[in-house]
């Protein structure tokens, strides 16, 4: 038993090293640029793929061939990071946080297809590292020397990074900029250069982490998202911006993983995220982190108030509804499927908007509640033998209960921390669906969830879905403009003042969280019957990002925004999937472009445009772009 514990500890420490490198890069980049770089897992993956190619080319058996390949891979990715920063990020530093996040997620999609195009869909098995091919016997178990090497790499890198940040001018500048980047600029430091170098450095670290995994595990196309969600956990547990914290957290997570496999092989992921939740409840800003100082949100346009729709917009809404009602008499049958799906996603987007807009709580993991709604319906049909309508009614409660539990933790945090925690909870939900095969069917999902006979025609199901979705969206709208909605927005805009006048801000946010989860659950349940099956992917990160895209594309400022966004996004995606095999790349590139061109979303931009035209006197430009505005 002792030797098993020992072996698992070593295992955990070995896997901690790469995780540390990736998380550390993520943390440094966030510290200086305030960008949560979703694409950091992609740099990790690129590092691994490039190392595979280079090592194979340079000669895997040769010491220089192998280690040279690893280093060159990291350097190439660092250079790519610099290019990404210069070409894309530089244009969006002024955009709101979530738009930046979306842009980096666009990069994730682009890199996925680039990797697919270059290296193909098969896993790539790397060579073993020259000099580290043997085993040592430690306390009775055989242990690869490469694992021991990795264990040593962690502390060595920690030491090197410590030296870099404490003893060099560049490190001093980075630490200063992490605290107050504007002041660093006013003291004559070229911020652009600093940002580019920080981004390149972080990307290089991630790539090094990926390249070092080469002898350990096969390189594949899913490395990016699995790594980024773990790196988020490490960064949040360790404390944003803290290198030592990232190391401690990486070791903690690595070891929990290793032991989890031993103790609860089915729910290792759940264990990891539970630890994260516990740490965050005790130390909300992570083991070594500190409460972010004010300036974290100082940039980006202030969100305008949420105003009720004007008479014109209401008319447009009614007209759109009429079009949707009459559509079945005009369009071909297969269009009904598209319209059904659109209605469902409009509700999904509206539920997310309810949290993000009036609630001010950005969720990276809203798909969890969508997915739980879908699974709720499927489980009700499969295990309880419920017919469609009762199952539809039951399902949202599963999502609502999850919102009740997860929300309790989430509303204790705010901003990026809250968003990362929602992501973690979504991963728990996903992992449960994925790993609890007996109940959920795991990766194979649950099949045969069909609507009741009376609703099985495309036409009837379309009207059913449309009716439920429109009713739910209107209900959300009523809540937003009811006293509860005003209290919610008061809590978002000035939590302290709202507390002072006696509003229980946290409780209000919690209730909003539950409502949003419930509404997403309705959408999920409708989706389950629509597709006839449910899969864990319904709750995976990309689906959560789809939701974010819809809301942000439409703009958080208006209630109609997310609906427009849902239609725009689903339409775009559908066309792309039809048009090209590399639709992810095109979609990713479009997201990046949209963020650069419309930093306030489609509806937000249209409103601003209308407002500018209405104003008699030439309005001052909203942001720092005098030439553009004039």
């Amino acid at each position: 038993m002792i030797d098993l514990i020992f072996a698992q500890t070593l295992n955990g420490l070995a896997s901690a090293s790469s995780l540390f490198l990736v998380a550390c890069g993520l943390s440094i980049i966030f510290g200086v640029t305030r960008i949560v770089n979703f694409a950091h897992g992609s740099f990790y993956m690129l590092g691994a793929y490039l190392a595979f190619t280079l090592v194979t080319r340079f000669g895997p058996a040769d010491v220089f061939g192998f280690w040279g390949g690893v280093l060159v891979a990291a350097l190439i990715v660092a250079a790519l990071g610099a290019i990404v920063e210069i070409v894309i990020l530089r244009r969006i530093y002024q955009a709101p946080e979530l738009f930046q996040l979306l842009a980096t997620f666009g990069l994730v999609l682009m890199v996925q297809d680039i990797a697919l195009g270059i290296w193909g869909p098969e896993d790539k098995l790397g060579p073993r590292a020259p000099g580290f091919k043997s085993f040592v016997v430690l306390m009775g178990s055989r242990f690869p020397t490469y694992e021991l090497f990795l264990i040593v790499v962690g502390p060595i890198m920690l030491g090197l990074l410590w030296f870099l940040f404490q003893k060099t001018r560049w490190g001093t500048l980075v630490r200063a900029a992490t605290q107050d980047r504007e002041m660093v600029g006013a003291l004559g430091v070229n911020q652009r250069l600093l940002f580019t170098s920080v981004f390149a450095f972080g990307a290089g670290l991630a790539a090094l982490g990926g390249a070092l995994q080469l002898p350990r595990e096969a390189v594949n196309l899913h490395m990016d998202l699995s790594m980024i969600s773990e790196a988020f956990v490490v960064v949040v547990v360790g404390g944003l911006g803290s290198v030592t914290g990232a190391y401690l957290a990486a070791v903690l997570i690595g070891i929990i993983h290793a032991f989890g496999i031993l103790v609860f092989p089915k729910i290792t992921l759940v264990l990891v995220f539970l630890v994260m939740a516990v740490v965050l409840v005790i130390k909300p800003y992570g083991l070594m982190g500190e409460r972010p100082v004010g300036s974290a949100h100082a940039h980006g346009p202030v969100e305008p108030l949420l105003l009720p729709a004007s008479f014109n917009i209401k008319l447009i809404g009614l007209a759109a509804l009429a079009v949707l009602l009459l559509a079945p008499f005009v369009v071909a049958d297969h269009w009904l499927l598209t319209l059904t799906e659109l209605s469902i996603f409009a509700l999904f987007a509206a539920s997310l908007h309810f949290m993000m807009g009036p609630g001010g709580m950005a969720s990276f993991g809203h798909a969890a509640y969508f997915g739980l709604g879908a699974y709720g319906a499927a489980l009700a049909v499969k295990w309880l033998g419920m017919p469609m309508l009762p199952a539809l009614a039951f399902a949202p409660f599963l999502a609502g209960i999850a919102g009740f539990v997860f929300g309790w933790f989430c509303v204790r945090l705010s901003g990026v921390y809250l968003a990362m925690l929602t992501l973690a909870f979504a991963q728990i939900a996903w992992a449960t669906a994925f790993q609890w095969v007996d109940v959920t069917g795991g990766d194979n999902g649950i099949l045969g969830i069909w609507p009741a006979p009376w609703a099985s025609s495309k036409l009837v199901y379309y009207y059913l879905a449309l009716a439920i979705c429109v009713a739910a969206i209107l209900a959300l709208r009523v809540v937003i403009f009811a006293p509860f909605g005003y209290a919610l927005r008061a809590g978002r805009d000035s939590p302290l003042r709202a507390e002072a006048i006696g509003l229980p801000v946290m409780r209000i946010q919690w209730i909003a969280f539950i409502i949003a989860a419930f509404a997403a659950g309705i959408a999920g349940a409708l989706f389950a019957f629509f597709k006839g099956s449910v899969f864990p992917t319904y709750m995976a990160i990309p689906r959560s990002v789809d939701g974010l895209l819809m809301v942000l594309l439409g703009g958080v400022q208006t209630v109609s925004g997310p609906i427009v966004g849902a239609f725009a996004f689903m339409g775009l995606q559908e066309q792309l999937v039809k048009a090209t095999m590399y639709w992810r790349f095109v979609l990713g590139a479009s997201i990046v472009l949209l963020v650069i061109l419309f930093p306030r979303g489609l509806v937000g931009t249209a409103l601003a445009f209308a407002e500018r035209r209405r104003e008699a006197e030439p309005a001052p430009p909203v942001t720092a772009a005098p030439e553009l505005a004039r």
Partner: protein, 233 residues
């Protein structure tokens, strides 16, 4: 050396500066005076490019600086000491100084940490102390020292005496006069007429984003109407 004309600045949609204009000569100490919220800090930020001006001209030694980035403006030789001090609290005194270090500049005094420690002996005794663990007065000295590390020709000092004990305020006045004797130009924003009078050659008064008075310190002291209208609380 500095000429400002028709400077307009906004925070979002709020129009704060409505055409500020004044000029400064080499080696001069000019006091920018006015009540709370008059626009003193905003004027300095606009010169520094921290609040990008939407209209107007700012010419520093023949260079037009509107539209340039703060770091470029700093490199031309303008040093900025913000009102809120903004010391890097996790960096030591020495590290705070090193962040701002720039190469020697023609026509401006050259500062090294050692020279600065002669000017601010207190700082020399706490080289390794983190900025966050210093008193308000010490932090104020550190921000000025930090800005001087860039070897500026012109220093924008935003309310240097604010919140300091009378003894320290006196020290501050001496420091400013010492900088003047080195040939530096200093623009200080100030509400305290007594303090301004002890260091400045001229004063310019801003109110609601417009310049209302410009003249020598003696002229201002003599003009009771102006003082009553724009300065008294």
């Amino acid at each position: 050396m500095l000429e400002i004309e028709g400077l307009n600045a906004y925070y979002g949609r709020a129009h704060i500066l409505h055409g500020v204009g004044f000029s400064m000569g080499r080696g001069e100490v000019l006091a920018l005076m006015g009540r709370n919220g008059a626009g003193k800090s905003t004027t300095m930020k606009a010169v520094m490019g921290l609040v990008p001006p939407q209209a107007g001209r700012v010419i520093f030694e023949g260079h037009t600086i509107v539209g340039r980035e703060p770091f470029e403006i700093a490199r031309l030789g303008i040093g900025y000491v913000p009102e809120e001090r903004r010391v890097f609290s996790e960096l030591s005194v020495m590290e705070n100084l090193s962040v701002a270090q720039r190469p020697k500049r023609e026509g401006a005094p050259h500062w090294t940490p050692e020279r600065l420690f002669q000017l601010f002996p207190n700082l020399g005794r706490m080289r390794d102390r983190p900025g966050g663990a210093m008193s308000g007065g010490e932090q104020q000295m550190l921000t000025i020292a930090r800005t001087l590390m860039g070897n500026p020709k012109l220093v924008l000092l935003d309310e240097p005496s604010e919140g300091l004990a009378p003894v320290i305020v006196e020290e501050m006045a001496k420091t400013i006069l010492a900088l003047k004797s080195e040939g530096l130009s200093v623009l200080i924003s100030e509400q305290n007429l007594h303090f301004a009078g002890s260091v400045a050659d001229r004063a310019t008064i801003i109110e609601k984003g417009l310049i209302r008075f410009t003249g020598t310190m003696d002229e201002l002291k003599a003009d009771e109407a102006v003082r009553a209208q724009y300065l008294s609380v």
